[in-house]
């Protein structure tokens, strides 16, 4: 089961939907790990999208690649990581035209970063579709050293850059595609609660 219902939170927290086929001249689909399942569901609703689809997929150790390839998208690319794929994404967006539909699915970190690229290329965020699948890990920014820690699964956690103990907030930055992590023991150094897995 790759779907998870996030608890309701503050307005800053992104809300994800369910991908649906929309009319467009071209369809750019970006997914990581279990996000592949959302693309398979989308193709099941309207297989004709694939003739004009470009799929950028980051498996993160899963093996959906063959199933995605079997959808016969116009273009298919598999990258070892988001960072390794971002050059290709930028190139695609730089050459894209009005009428491009963007579908993002998988982890929050992937969707946030890819949405940021699409917005910078001129697509309003209100028309970019997203669907969360797979890991609920968060991409966190340390508000103190500004370093980003990927795939955070516990609260609190240790900043991978400066080593501070950070509390996981729902306060989100669309520009950074990251949640904010704030020092939890500033007043009383060393008084750090036992880390708990997110959403448990």
């Amino acid at each position: 089961m790759s779907k998870f219902q996030f608890p309701e939170s503050i307005k800053s927290r992104p809300v994800y939907g369910t991908l649906e086929p929309r009319p467009g001249k071209a369809h750019l689909m970006i997914a990581d790990a279990e996000g592949a399942e959302a693309i398979l569901d989308l193709a099941a609703q309207d297989a004709s999208l694939m003739a004009h689809a470009h799929i950028i997929y980051i498996p993160k150790g899963t093996d959906f690649g063959d199933k995605l390839r079997a959808l016969n998208p116009a273009q298919y690319y598999e990258g070892p990581s988001y960072d390794a794929s971002v050059q290709r994404l930028r190139h695609v967006l730089a050459n894209a035209h009005q009428g491009l539909q963007v579908y993002l699915t998988g982890t929050e970190g992937l969707m946030g970063q890819a949405q940021n690229e699409a917005m910078q290329a001129g697509i309003p965020h209100t028309s970019i579709q997203t669907e969360h699948r797979g890991s609920v890990a968060r991409r966190m920014q340390c508000v103190h050293c500004k370093g980003i820690t990927e795939d955070v699964m516990t609260d609190p956690f240790v900043c991978s850059h400066c080593g501070l103990n950070l509390f996981v907030r729902d306060h989100y930055s669309r520009r950074l595609a990251a949640y904010q992590g704030v020092c939890i023991d500033a007043e009383d150094p060393g008084n750090v609660p036992e880390p708990k897995e997110l959403y448990t």
Binding site: R22, P23, G99, G122, I123, P124, T126
Partner: protein, 327 residues
């Protein structure tokens, strides 16, 4: 659109002006230029803004919105271009037949309900007939910042092509004109195809043209937020009706050729407005009770609000036994 209006004042601030020039452009369209009577500079505005002109027509006050079509950076002169509508309610006829150079009038500060999205990579303009006016000021504005724009302008005949010569002379590669009488039409689907990501489209013209651009763009996958339109509705005439204004404790008659808003104003009751064309939301009025049918013509209220909750008196009417408004 739904948020309640921010301020409830009758119209924007007024400016006292003198008509500095009256320039007939063709059989139907005349340009009116204004200068301030106090000699101060006009406020600058943004392309696409309009002003509401007050006309004193033999004891009857007419207030009509017109797009400002002069250069937004020119603080010495404002200009509007008015198309004569012989079937209309008389505002444009008043401008054409009664307004002379040297006359004193009042107009409102500019209000913009149709502004450029300056984040756009490119601006694609679609104008039909007198719908050219807001684009004239937008083009001035974009030319100052070397903006990327293109105009597709459809007119009935060469003789009625308002500003066609000027536009084609100044911007030969950016302006494309289509003549109805030569069976030319805007190749909309082709034009929407292949535009760079982040292009915004703007349309001003008859209702059919506006609907066509919205529908064609959304079928081609354009984001709604990147297709902008402006249509001022003129209040339509209709059967006279009676309205009870409960806050002011008055019962008024709305004549065949006046709008509900005009009838409220004629009774000396202050009512808020900005556009007088069903677009801005400022005149939104609560319905207290009614027995009859509404004729809603605005672009503002949600369908559920139109079901007896609210009315936009600048363009909408009522037929039936009784109507009571919270005004």
């Amino acid at each position: 659109m739904s948020a309640a209006p921010q301020k409830a004042k009758p119209g924007a601030e007024q400016l006292a002006v003198r008509v500095s020039a009256v320039v007939p452009l063709n059989d139907l369209v005349t340009r009116f230029e204004f200068q301030r009577t106090d000699g101060q500079p006009f406020p600058t505005f943004s392309g696409g803004a309009h002003t509401v002109v007050t006309m004193q027509d033999d004891g009857r006050t007419r207030l009509n919105p017109y797009s400002l079509m002069s250069d937004p950076a020119d603080t010495s002169t404002y200009a509007i271009s008015v198309r004569r509508d012989d079937q209309g309610r008389g505002g444009s006829l008043f401008m054409h037949t009664r307004v002379k150079q040297g006359d004193e009038m009042t107009i409102t500060y500019p209000v913009n309900l149709f502004s450029l999205d300056l984040r756009a990579r490119k601006h694609l303009f679609f104008a039909g007939g007198i719908g050219i006016t807001p684009f004239m000021s937008m083009i001035h504005q974009l030319e100052q910042s070397n903006g990327n724009w293109e105009l597709h302008y459809s007119v009935r005949t060469e003789a009625l092509g308002t500003y066609v010569d000027e536009l084609k002379y100044k911007f030969p590669t950016k302006v494309h004109v289509y003549y109805d009488d030569q069976s030319q039409s805007i190749p909309l689907e082709t034009l929407l195809d292949g535009q760079p990501l982040g292009t915004n489209a703007y349309v001003c013209g008859p209702k059919g043209m506006i609907d066509w651009v919205h529908a064609t763009a959304s079928a081609a996958g354009w984001p709604d937020a990147q297709v902008h339109s402006e249509e001022f509705l003129a209040p339509a005439p209709g059967k006279p009706f009676e309205v009870r204004l409960c806050k002011s404790d008055k019962t008024i008659q709305v004549g065949e050729n006046e709008s509900l808003l005009e009838a409220i104003e004629r009774a000396g009751v202050e009512a808020p407005f900005l556009c007088r064309g069903g677009a801005c939301g400022q005149c939104e009025t609560d319905v207290v009770s009614y027995d009859g049918e509404f004729i809603h013509r605005d672009h503002w209220l949600e369908p559920e609000q139109q079901a007896g909750e609210k009315i936009m008196p600048c363009v909408s009417r009522f037929v039936g036994k009784s109507l009571e408004l919270d005004r």
